[in-house]
Symmetry: C2
Subunit: 441 residues, 2 copies
């Protein structure tokens, strides 16, 4: 019988060491790299948020031989902190004690201790439990965590309620065959292609909602920009005037998130040599204008009348950067036929949907828009698309019993991370990516 109380006060190890010059510190970490200098050794110790340089002087410390300390050992060390401008964070710990808490059983399969590991994805991905320990990869996913945290903080500040919704569903929201199926106690079930229905349900409840959750697309695309499971940053807001309210919310959110990342991850951004854009305002063009701009400015005759091709996304971003100094550009009023059945058509031109994409550095990172809120309009749209309204009775219940005008969007967290950090492949922006060939680790 005992009583459990609060944890010890938390102090980040790097902060502790930086603030203890002239004093003795004790901390735990993992030996990231040993550099033996004949009469002493540098031990670079990896802690939760960064590397700390230690020196092991002489041949032994207590019962530990200098020659026995190897990469990947888990240690507790004690020593006095000295200023050392050439070391990480400008400090060095001269060890007076070391103990070994855990040992590796094999040599590291990758050069974790090197500044750049230089691994191909084929080598990197199966070894992610180990390769993620490299400071550069750590930095990428700390930034990714901060993007999601900044998103949540902004949404909460704007009166949004944080929702958590099921991913096993009875029908796909986005249509098409790109959906994973599973057997659910004898019933056919699917993995959610988006939280769309649930966002709309709850926008009718809380007015403003957001979710950070897993999203599934069974797409047979093996490209540098597709994942089959990814993290969606989603929001939905009711009582809007138009989809421009949604686009403004995204603009405000992105400004906030980029500042949040700069504030919370300065060392990570420096290590990654990240170039974080300043957003003032984001240019917005209509789909047909986008096609015209590409023709007039770049002599590009588009063959895709319903969507933007990847090379066109690049072209439009180049234009926005050159003409308006913006790394982001909204494209609105896409042809209705290629947008989902819940998208509202433009009352001025029914062939166009009140929907938009946001492009960032040459890649679509968001799809959003205004949704149909009128029951008859939604029923008619289902009929127009030859969809069986009976299968969507739970969904259209929303409209039947009164629904405010509303809209929202979804952002792919991995794509946003990839573009922000200029990574070459979306698999570099997912810790444990799921693609057509990869289910492990």
């Amino acid at each position: 019988m005992e009583f459990i109380n609060d944890p010890k006060q938390y102090t980040d190890t790097v902060e502790l060491v930086k603030n203890s010059v002239g004093q003795e510190v004790t901390f735990r970490g993992t030996v990231h790299r040993v550099r033996d200098m004949s009469d002493f050794a540098f031990l670079i110790v990896r802690t939760e948020r960064g590397l700390v340089q230690c020196t092991f002087q002489g041949d032994t410390l207590g019962d530990i031989q200098r020659a026995d300390v190897k990469d990947a050992m888990v240690v507790e060390v004690t020593g006095k902190v000295h200023e050392e401008p050439r070391a990480e964070h400008g400090v060095e710990v001269v060890l007076s004690r070391i103990s070994i808490l855990a040992r590796p059983y094999d040599q590291l399969p990758v050069p974790l201790g090197k500044k750049y590991m230089g691994l191909s994805l084929d080598v990197d991905l199966p070894l992610r439990p180990v390769t993620l320990r490299h400071p550069i990869k750590q930095a990428v996913f700390r930034v990714q965590g901060a993007i999601a945290d900044g998103f949540a903080e902004y949404m909460l500040s704007q009166g949004f309620t944080h929702i958590h919704t099921p991913k096993i569903v009875s029908a796909g929201a986005e249509g098409g065959a790109n959906i994973f199926k599973l057997d659910y106690f004898g019933q056919q079930a699917y993995l959610a292609q988006s939280p769309q229905f649930y966002k709309q349900y709850t926008a009718g409840v809380f007015g403003r909602v957001f979710e950070i959750g897993n999203v599934y697309r069974a797409e047979r695309h093996n490209t540098s920009r597709h994942l089959n499971e990814y993290i969606g940053l989603d929001f939905e807001m009711a009582y809007i005037d138009s989809m421009y309210d949604v686009m403004q919310m995204e603009t405000g959110m992105l400004k906030y998130v980029l500042n949040y990342v700069k504030e919370h991850c300065p060392e990570e951004l420096a290590l990654l040599k990240a170039d974080i854009p300043e957003i003032k305002e984001i240019p917005s063009i209509r789909f047909h204008e986008a096609k015209e701009i590409m023709e007039s400015k770049f002599g590009h005759k588009s063959k895709n009348r319903y969507d933007l091709n990847p090379d066109e996304e690049v072209m439009l971003c180049d234009w926005a950067k050159q003409e308006h100094g913006s790394e982001f550009v909204f494209v609105t009023h896409f042809p209705s036929s290629k947008r989902p059945f819940y998208a509202m058509d433009d009352p001025d031109d029914k062939k166009l949907a009140l929907s938009f994409d946001l492009l960032f550095r040459g890649l679509e990172i968001t799809t959003g828009g205004q949704r149909i809120h009128d029951y008859q309009e939604q029923i008619d749209k289902l009929a127009e698309r030859n969809m069986n309204a009976e299968l969507f009775e739970s969904f259209t219940m929303l409209h039947k019993y009164g629904m405010p005008p509303h809209g929202g969007l979804g952002i792919g967290l991995e794509r946003l991370t990839m573009q922000l950090l200029k990574l070459a492949n979306v698999r570099d922006a997912s810790m444990f990516p799921r693609d057509m060939n990869r289910l492990e680790p």
Copy 2:
């Protein structure tokens, strides 16, 4: 071509109205209830975070007839705010203008406007997109959102990194047959029973990690405490001395979360008449002590030598409340054979695991413990359980290349919500529950 900038400044409607006595306000909402008083009507308008009483005086306002305003209409109203102690929030808006933004197509199928709807789950669950609009249900899920938000805020303050991991996996972490299967491009895949492997991988990377994510259990239990898909609040921490570090972290977190909920949801808690416990410290007993206490204090002879039965969880909570004034109690040192293969055995008694449950108001809400970090120990444990170590090579890679002592836990968000708000059924603590018979909405 336009430029998109920040959204309008957000003000919660209830706050706006409360702070505008003597002034005119304009806002949007949904007619929650109309009470016609022969020469005027009360319109109770539901806004994002609460009800606002409006009065419609006379027969018409502009071109809107008083008699035409019905429940579930979406409206924009303008009027002067007066003090009115009998109304919600002590204020009332005397309307000078009303416009209708959207209309329902049918009468509400449930008495949303009543203080208590009094629905059975059979009626309630299929209509959740509508029944969630009731203020009491809104309040439950706002509190649930705040629990998760408070959890994240605390974890971030303690140096934890927020992770987002895949739920389509190649092997179950918790063993047994209670796992959903799916076809993944021709490969057999599963839905994650917990983020266990991923938490351990990333604890080796970031030291401290947490996740808020969907968890899947294909259990054929149709009880008031089981869901087949739920939200897990999970954390994992490295460089620990023992599992007591994890229990302390949970204690600190729960104190923080309960304060967060009190601060962010005062009106919701009042509406729900919630009784939020004060945590000072949490008593902790060993499994064998728990069995002894039940026998000596309650004359209960347990037949379950490996776990706690539901009635025993209730009994132990009664004891903790009576003897120690605590609504929470930790139980530690469960028999190893019923704990997962990644749990560390007690070196003093290999038949016991260094693992614990946390019980709250008669229900287990957490399972946690220290994990094996030594490679050989993990390999031996797999062999002991007749598990094929080759299938777990991605997992044991963790241990092979050096892993600090670590531990963690998982909390069921719905169970915590249910117990905190004293709800009768876990389905009352899940917006869109998934059980053996329910895949919709």
